[in-house]
């Protein structure tokens, strides 16, 4: 039995020491899903922090009209790299890679994922892709300046190092595909005894839906990126009007991946929220089946709405009408989830610990983002706000206020379980207050600016936008102050904090029933599940 193994790291135990292996290689070549999860956590979060600094620089440039700290070319490069890092190196690999890996196998009562070595390969591909992207910033014609969307014809013509950056993204995409197929296989084949589909935690359901999107959508990104490289290196002209190609086809291919990709970013976040809200309301989740089903519905319908990014690109009116309609259809399953979360809270015995605060703010921020998404999804209104700061505000509300805050919620909810130590509650709450405030000050202001007509992706603007831009920039400082406090608190707490034992929040999913931190094989005995994931009656 694992508990008899001599522990080298007496303070932590569990998978940190029970295999007897230590040192760097015991991590970067480990096939243990928990170690791989932590590798993903540290690597994706590092890119998040770098990209946050870039975002801050953007906001400082926009603090006042005219040139503040950088010129147009630098600004173009920085928003591109900010976007590429946030999307391809943080949020897409982050959720499945970090928390999917850490938690999902335990939640289904498995000892590991189905293909452990493939899992390690995914992380390595991610790292190699990231290294290629980083190389592209400092070689060739310098960092790409196309925006994270790599639109042709500019991406085919610009002298910056687009080819290499795009190749890096291609490699990261391969990593994402492998994670997806690993997770689908794991969830199908490795559920423990009694873990029926109806008893899967909703986080697992959301990862399942996510994994299908990763499998089905990412290959289209891969071929699109290959075609951009071919366009640049061979002159294929497939998107070049002079040679009979059509740039619109690039946009179609790109968004056939990239709209579903926003569900890769948001679905796991919704899953986390569905796991946290019942625990801190002491009530079973309201509408379990509908939440699980709506994840699948989002994954399915979400693959049919990509055209809403192209209302102003010159599609036919019929296409605009159909894509607009379908966009409104996908809003329904998302709204179902929001209503179910609210109903879960209703008459619950709510405790406002840090994970819950982040989860509750997720609901609000995601709803604001989602509703502003409908303004963009309706063709008539989109024409007015397309490519303005309204869009920038909208997607930050969804991916930062949504996925980002859910990521922070997961860090507070699950990391103590894996480190065996906990953070201090008060600084966590202070950090949350600052982040929540700063976030709204910054991005709501940006939405207003967009409504007033300030375009995105420019380093300069008309003088009448000056005041609100200053407000937004101050918001970014408040937000980042909160972020720093949160990180210091987590860092100190997880390394040196109070011991975290047992099941302080009273979660009913399987990860709370095993030792803290979990042993390498996750459970001392293979678990047998006899009740649902939100059945708290078992505990009291």
């Amino acid at each position: 039995m694992t508990s008899n193994v001599q522990r080298s790291d007496a303070t932590r135990g569990g998978f940190w020491s029970d295999s007897g292996k230590t040192g760097l290689t015991s991590w970067i070549f480990s096939t243990d899903h928990k170690r791989i999860g932590l590798l993903y956590l540290f690597s994706t979060f590092s890119f998040f922090l770098v990209a946050v600094v870039l975002g801050l620089l953007l906001r400082i440039e926009l603090m006042a009209p005219g040139r503040t700290i950088m010129g147009p070319q630098t600004y173009n490069a920085i928003f591109t790299v900010h976007g590429v890092m946030m999307i391809f190196l943080f949020i897409i690999p982050g959720f499945p890679g970090a928390f999917g890996n850490l938690v999902m196998p335990i939640q289904i009562g498995a000892r590991d994922v189905f293909f452990p070595r493939l899992n390690l390969l995914s992380w390595w591909l991610y790292i190699i892709g990231a290294a290629i992207i980083l190389t592209s910033l400092f070689t060739g014609g310098g960092p790409p300046d196309t925006g994270w969307t790599f639109y042709v014809p500019f991406s085919a013509r610009t002298g910056t190092n687009v080819s290499l950056a795009v190749f890096g993204v291609f490699v990261v995409g391969f990593s994402s595909i492998l994670t997806g197929l690993n997770f689908v296989t794991t969830i199908h084949r490795l559920r423990c005894e009694g873990m029926t589909w109806g008893r899967l935690p909703l986080f697992v359901w959301s990862l399942y839906a996510t994994a299908w999107v990763q499998i089905l959508a990412t290959p289209i990104l891969a071929i699109t990126l290959v075609l951009v490289m071919a366009e640049r290196l061979l002159g294929t002209g497939l998107f070049e009007p002079a040679q009979g190609g059509d740039p619109l086809m690039y946009q179609h291919l790109f968004w056939i991946y990239s709209h579903p990709a926003v569900y890769i970013m948001i679905l796991p976040a919704m899953g986390v929220i569905s796991d946290i809200i019942p625990v801190f309301s002491r009530k079973p989740i309201f509408g379990y089946k509908m939440i699980a089903f709506s994840s699948l519905a989002i994954a399915a319908f979400g693959s049919l709405v990509w055209g809403h990014h192209m209302f102003t690109s010159g599609m036919s009116d019929t296409a605009i009408l159909v894509f607009s309609f379908l966009t409104f259809v996908v809003a329904i399953p998302s709204a179902i989830k929001v209503f179910n979360w609210i109903s879960t809270l209703y008459k619950g015995s709510i405790s406002l610990d840090a994970p819950m605060l982040f989860a509750l703010s997720f609901i609000l921020l995601f709803s604001i983002g989602g509703l502003s998404g409908l303004i963009l999804g309706a063709a008539a209104t989109d024409v007015h706000v397309h490519d303005t700061h309204f869009v920038v505000g909208h997607f930050h509300y969804v991916i930062f206020g949504g996925s980002g805050f859910a990521f922070f919620a997961s860090m507070h909810y699950w990391l103590p379980k894996f480190f065996g130590r906990r953070y201090a509650e008060k600084p966590a709450v202070i950090a949350w207050v600052l982040m929540f405030t700063g976030f709204n000050v910054m991005y709501f202001t940006m939405q207003v600016l967009g409504m007033e007509g300030m375009p995105r992706r420019y380093y300069d603007y008309l003088p009448e936008f000056a005041n609100l831009n200053l407000v937004a920039t101050i918001g970014s400082w408040i937000l980042v102050t909160g972020l720093v406090i949160m990180l210091v608190n987590l860092f100190r707490g997880l390394l040196w904090g109070e011991p975290f034992e047992g099941n302080p929040w009273g979660g009913a999913t399987l990860e709370w029933s095993t030792a803290t931190p979990p042993p390498t094989e996750n459970f001392a005995e293979d678990p047998v599940v006899t009740h649902g994931p939100y059945d708290f009656t078992q505990q009291d």
Partner: protein, 200 residues
């Protein structure tokens, strides 16, 4: 806790099938472009298609089908424990693949010799649809050829594993998955061939 490595063949195959979907979708992007541009340039596509050598295309189709047959027979051979035969059949598959690549080589160099390749002066100066057709042709067959090469390496590795006794009648998942991959490579060619060589 005793730890037996799981031997869940169904799961291993599920993973492989999912991977094959992703490969299909990868080519799906190219077929999508083909569909849109074919609708736009039906005449140019038909004219450009006649410049491809359908005899060579047919030969390659037959060769790939044969190679797939060999791969399927290799699986059966391993199931029956006839590992030497299986290795021979895998050799046959790889031989066919080599034949396929040789014919492709001649086709490509003939086209390139006539100044027909992506971005060539000839195509840039010609009618727009022609350039699109040949760019798509080179991209699609190029990526397909890459898959043929990857498949060869994969099958060669599996061949060695059969010889060394790592793939046996009890444990032949790897071979089965390798053969599945090969069938996919074949299947994609079955789509490429009529789309490019046989347009009316």
């Amino acid at each position: 806790m005793t730890h037996q490595p799981h031997t869940d063949n169904l799961g291993a195959r599920l993973g492989m099938w999912l991977f094959l979907f992703t490969e299909l979708l990868l080519f799906g992007g190219l077929f999508l472009l083909y569909a849109v541009y074919f609708k736009r340039y039906p005449h140019e596509f038909a004219v450009a298609g006649t410049q491809l050598n359908w005899v060579m295309g047919t030969a390659n189709t037959v060769i790939l089908l044969t190679s797939s047959l060999c791969a399927a027979m290799a699986v059966t051979a391993v199931q029956r424990g006839e590992s030497r035969r299986a290795v021979g059949l895998i050799g046959g598959t790889i031989l066919c693949a080599a034949g396929f690549m040789t014919i492709k080589y001649f086709e490509w160099s003939e086209k390139i010799g006539h100044g027909i390749y992506p971005g060539s002066a000839h195509l840039r100066g010609g009618v727009p649809g022609e350039s699109v057709f040949f760019s798509l042709y080179f991209m699609t067959t190029g990526i397909h050829g890459l898959h043929v090469l990857i498949g060869c390496v994969l099958l060669a590795v599996i061949g060695f594993k059969i010889t060394s006794g790592a793939v046996t009648a009890e444990n032949y998942n790897l071979l089965e998955n390798g053969a599945l991959y090969w069938h996919l490579v074949d299947l994609i060619w079955i789509f490429i061939f009529p789309l490019y060589y046989l347009i009316l």
